[in-house]
Structure formats: C-alpha cells, structure tokens
Symmetry: C2
Amino acid sequence: MKVVITGGAGFLGQKLIAALQERGVLAAPDDTSVSISEIICVDRTMPDNACEGVTYVEADIGSEGVFDEVVPGDASSIFHLAAVVSAEAEADFDLGMRVNLDATRALLERCRGLAALPRFVFASSVAAFGVAPPIVDDDTPVRPLNSYGVEKVIGEYLVGEYARRGFVDGRTVRLPTIVIRPGAPNKAASSFASSILREPLQGMNAVCPVSEDLAVWIKSPRSVVADLVLAHDLEAENWPDGLRVLNLPGLTVTVAEMIAALERAGGDTSLISWEPDPAIEAIVGSWPQGMTTDRANALGFTADESIDAVVRQFLDDELG
Amino acid sequence: MKVVITGGAGFLGQKLIAALQERGVLAAPDDTSVSISEIICVDRTMPDNACEGVTYVEADIGSEGVFDEVVPGDASSIFHLAAVVSAEAEADFDLGMRVNLDATRALLERCRGLAALPRFVFASSVAAFGVAPPIVDDDTPVRPLNSYGVEKVIGEYLVGEYARRGFVDGRTVRLPTIVIRPGAPNKAASSFASSILREPLQGMNAVCPVSEDLAVWIKSPRSVVADLVLAHDLEAENWPDGLRVLNLPGLTVTVAEMIAALERAGGDTSLISWEPDPAIEAIVGSWPQGMTTDRANALGFTADESIDAVVRQFLDDELG
C-alpha cells in the first residue's frame, strides 16, 4: 500500500515516517494489516535528514494541480499534516487560507479520483477552540479566535463531508500543543512551549513570551505519532458521520510546571528570559487549558504520563 | 446607502426588498439611520414581479469575478441569501460547493475591497444541525448530515473570520424552515412543509413525503424578514468574535398540527396525498425539532405566535 504524508518533512512528519517504517504495515480498507510499499512525503522543503526508502516530493501544496502529480492513483492512505502554522496564518491571512483551506480541499478533491477509498487522517488542532470554557469536552462548540483555528475547523467539516459523500474514509484528530518539539523555534504561537525546555536542556538561551501561570494542553511527539497511527487504523465504524473529529488526550501544564520539570531534569532555568508578547499570549491564551476526552479515551488514545516523562522522552530521543 | 441582496429574486429576497422599501432606512456603521439610496438584487433569474426602483442584475453568483461587477465599491450593506437549496445540494455536490461555499467566499473577498466596512447579514439554516439532540440550544455543536448544512456552516465560519479580521461587519442567523413559503414547490427538502398548507388553501393537491408525527422548526416569512432587518441593524457590540451566529426563534409544529391548522382555516385536508420519500425524511428528520434561543430572544428576535397565525398571515399576504 502507498501512503502519502503532507508536511512530511516537518519534525512530526519525519517521526511519523520513522514509526511507519518500523511498523511496516497499516490497516487496509478491509481492516487487514497490509505492508507499506511506498511512503510519499510532500513538503515545500526537504528534510535535513532524509529517511531511506522514502519518496520525497518538493512542492507547494497551495499551488494549482499539485496533488494530481504527487498523489498516485493507487494511494491507500493520506496523512494530511501540512499547514501554515498559527502565528504565520495570523500574520498572512491569504497565505493561511490558500494552504490551510484551499490545499486541504484540493487534496480531498484528488482523493475522489483514487482507485480505492483512501483513509484520510487530518491533523486539526486545539486552536479550533477560542470562545470556550477553560476545560472543553467532546461537545464543546468550536469558536476559534485565530485564522489558523478557523481554517482547521473548516478543514474538519470538509473532511467530514467528503467522508459522508463516500469520497474518503475521513478521520480528524485535534492535536494538543506538541512538547517537546525538536529543532529550531518556528512561527507557531505555541513555539515557546517547546523552546523553554528544549533550549535550556542544551545549554542554550530561550525566550518566554507568556506569563508563568499560562496553562497549555500538551502532548509529546511519540504520543502524537501513536495517536495518528491509531486514528488511521481504527475500524471505520468508529468514525460515524457527524462525529469524525476527536479531541486527543493530553496533559495540562502551566509554564511554571514546565520550568520546574526543567529544573528537576538538571536544566538551567536561568537561561530563560521573559519578554512578554501580548499577540502570542492572546492566541495561546484563547486555546483550552485542558480537555475531557471521553470519546478518544474509549477508542484507545492515550496521554503522556507526566511532564517529567515528556522531558525524559526528549532527552532519550533527541539528545541520545 | 446602497444595499446588495443576493438571491434577491427569491420569495424571501422579494419580501425583504418590499420591507426595506417600506422602511426606507437602515442602520449605518455609526448606528445612525440612513436612507437607502439603491437596492441591488443579484440572482440567477429575474423575479416575476419586479419591484420598482430596484436594480436587478441577472448573474450566476458561482461564476468567477461576478461580485466585482455587481457589488458597487460604496455598498454599505449585504444580505447574502442566495443558495443552492438542500435537496439540490445533496443531489449535485459540486454545484452546492460552488454556489454555497465558493460564492460566499468570493462575496466576502469582494467586501474586502469596499470603501467602508459593510454590514454583512448571512442567512444560515437549521440544516447546520444533524447529529444533535431533538431540541438544540445556543451551545449545541453543529454536526450537519447534509451537504447544504455543511456548506452553510463553513459559510458561518468564513463570515465570522472575515469579520474578526475587519473585512466585514458579519452577522449570521440560522433560519428555521420558512412556512408558508409562497409560490411553487422548490428543491428544498423541506418544501413539503409549505406545500401541504399552501396548495390545499388554494384548492390544489399537495404531496406529503414524511410521516405526520415529524416535527419541524418553522418561522413565517414576515418573522424571518423582521429578523433579517434586526440582524442588520443591531449595534456591532452585539456580535462579538466567536459568537457571530444566532439560532433564530421559531415554532415547533408537527405535520399533524399543520394539517389541523389547515382544517381550522377551512382548507380541504383530503387534497393531501401521502407518498413517503425516505430521502426527504432522512434530511429533514436530521434537523432539530426545536431550539431554545436565549441569545436571540435577549436581542429582540421573536417567533410567530402560533401555527394558526402563520396560516392567517399567508391568507392575508398572498391570497388577499
């Protein structure tokens, strides 16, 4: 079976690819396990460390007709991770609409032309929530207050509708903020949540733009990858029409709790400087501080054990 | 001030035009009452009885660039009523997406180029709800189960986002099923709800495709028009970001209750024949049977008094 991963050159895409290669199989439409014959990674740039055996395609997914070229007619599975991230989509409205909305629709349109009904896993986000109670649940209405969140929500509805019409087997998961994201800071408004741990753990300076009592709903890279694979492999009956979106389990941690964990792991907390950024605080502060995720829990999705386990995972996976 | 009405040749558009002409004024951005200088009606066909003093433009709103031509640069108010209706959007997915989604976005894009921030009233629908309790409230998540509903919901998010970004002053109202709609049956799945009253009141045959215990959430044409004007004229502070969508008040009536009202009004109920249509029952049966509309009530939106008053209104307004 052929698997297409958009945004596959990003850190999450690369970790997903590694997990799929280690696994070697994914569920086919009839729910049997089938060997992965090809992984096609589509992204606007190539990764620094390309994985062997992966087909990399460098392309702007927002450009016309790109998916006709990069998604083979016999593709069985799509992981749609590519996005213009939150602060970038807020800064450039048209770019966000083109990549986060138009490209999602174009990919779904391409899937209508595939030989067999593909499983389509869409990575949405906690940013779907804006006007909401601090702790949301499976039935909290999504009222986003940033462009990225709006575009993700519209993507959720498109995936759901293309699924209901029988064009894809669609499954959407709303990802918590991923901590600790490896690599350099990016334009996600939540970039600091990784940075204030990742940089000091390597003896480097970090900037915290929000107050220390801000609570963030987080999930580690390993946990996110496991949930993406589970979202793909669950039998179709678990994704009924109208309920094809799941809030994923996570951990609520405040900035202060992250810094305490950094200290327990031997990191130098004095490397963090505080430079309040009201724009960042406004975006991340509008996201939920936590979720009750009964539906996802019942289906086997899981959260990390603790912020200390999240820090240990980074030390093991990234710093050897 | 110039007012643009899409779908303005439809029965609702014509009634809105008549109400605006009688009123003569609408609220300007500074909330003062300003005289209406021009009403521009955009639709794919022209109405049978054109209103004097209205500029009619015959155009397919789904075609590229149409709004650059028909929306003048100094337009102050937009009422976006045009849509491919529910059963038609279900039968022709691409047509529904093009008109209900792409044209809504194109109209919003056109509004970015206007001289002043226009008030933008968007007519959404009870069809936004699918997987939901029988009686929904202001915080029930929208999980539509038909293409029309999905396209309307995406339109709601687009209007909200374009408003949040400062491109329009957006206000969305979810219309109940309009009863009694004058004219001939149309391709709305709910067309029967008017037909079983309208035709017998004129001595004509009608077909009922659903069971008599099906409950429908309805609102009369006069009540809908009044609410559209109120949605436009309310001060902007009543439409905060994330909460720019209101469920409108209505009446819950079963098919049996409609037929009883028909009989009380002297209509011949034997003119109704029963021809069950599972496709219609599935679409309309997935819509809420009622709503608690606390937010709209608090803002002054109102429901009809009774199904008998709804029937009387039709007799007065349409049959003289």
